[in-house]
Symmetry: C2
Subunit: 249 residues, 2 copies
Amino acid sequence: MNAEQGVTGAERVLLVLAALASHGKAMSVKDLLAVTGLAQSTLYRQIALLKRWGFVAENAGHYAPGPISLQLALGFDVNSLLVEASRTEMQQLARASQESIGLVVAVKHQVMCLEMVDSQHSLRCSFEKGRAVPLKAGASAKSLLAFMADKARAEVLDNLFDNDPAGRAAIETELEQIRAQGYAVSDSEVDPGVWGVSAPIFHRSGRGAGSSASITLMAPSTRAIGRENQFIDGTLRTARAISEHMQTD
Amino acid sequence: MNAEQGVTGAERVLLVLAALASHGKAMSVKDLLAVTGLAQSTLYRQIALLKRWGFVAENAGHYAPGPISLQLALGFDVNSLLVEASRTEMQQLARASQESIGLVVAVKHQVMCLEMVDSQHSLRCSFEKGRAVPLKAGASAKSLLAFMADKARAEVLDNLFDNDPAGRAAIETELEQIRAQGYAVSDSEVDPGVWGVSAPIFHRSGRGAGSSASITLMAPSTRAIGRENQFIDGTLRTARAISEHMQTD
DNA sequence: TCCTCATTCCCATTTGTCGGGAATCCATTT
DNA sequence: AAATGGATTCCCGACAAATGGGAATGAGGA
């Protein structure tokens, strides 16, 4: 039994990198101090290290991910079986539904978009590859939470709802229901006017049989009215199809 | 045993990440052991850490960059003043020359492509964003080496030519000449049939006034014949224009 | 069945890291 | 010009944490 909570040693470097990644724009040292909670001298040491390796770049006192990030992203794309296996199915669903389809995963306490096939409508919901939002609300987040490993879920919820036992309880029961029905729905839960449905992809990674990826369909609420079942159905079917690809490969 | 001296603590994590980044495809533990020179137990500890944070992903015993890479890449794009400042100029040069233009930087011991504007010809030279090659040969590499800080150059050359004093001496004098003329040229030096010219971009980052980025024009050797001066000229002009943008900001 | 490779554990040792605080720089502001 | 505030670097003793050797286990492959 490992006590995993204390931010120790090497973890501090990753803490800084992760902070830069999720912040979305260049951060000052002050920002980083606040976000990471590191001591000043420690922070500077980590920054220097990361800079030396090309993991962060500096612009006049502001820090952002460095050039090696591009290389990493390239490596991710090339090697992601999941994205590979999903692309075709996602395109089919996009064509059939005429709405936007996303492939999302849970990373730490965020839901991140790995791949996106946009709707052709001029009014469309979208999301960039690599963009992330808190793993807290919305169809994607709920679907991911519902079907992730119990321990991992507890860890996330402990963190995101530590000051809100009521909200915590509410989401727990909602997740229970989502597990029962096999998908999650949201309406204007994160962004007003956006309706979404998300279903889990199961891939047996190693021993665990959990899920940490989902397929999400997003549509303007106005276009979703009356077509909820069609959308839900298609999303479920797509997620299942991808799950099967992941088994056999 | 590690050839380098400075591999300490937190650096080991980055060592693993960097190895995955530059390898280009998923690596087995055995590969990583060989490349990083770490002890088995240490390596596994680093991998576990990186996995926990989403920096690496695993597929049946093979490791590759994880999803957070996409987020990092996004952050890099958004915040790279250099790329921002270069894009327009690069497009102009591409239009004028009808050849491919790349923006490259030196990262550790590699030359990495940050941005690329492709030629319209069906026979074209190209290079993906994020792709990297050894900082050893070719117009881009030589231009970067020639104009980088003395200490950094020494560090790279010490490393890449440690078994080849003759090659080391040869490139030193070549770099000398490149510094004098302000640009580097190559012909079939890395890839057969590819001609290239590369000129440095100067940006005063902090106190140092060195350069670590270059603009490179690449063309099939056959199309370069007789147009060398035109290409060299255009590349120099473009690099200078970008340098100026970087000053005034 | 034997051998290779992946993965996990244990533990004594030592090595590197942490962070408080102060000193520098630098660019503005007053 | 002096002062103010942020960024950045340096120093150093105490402490905790990481290292890696080795062995054990599991899974395939040949």
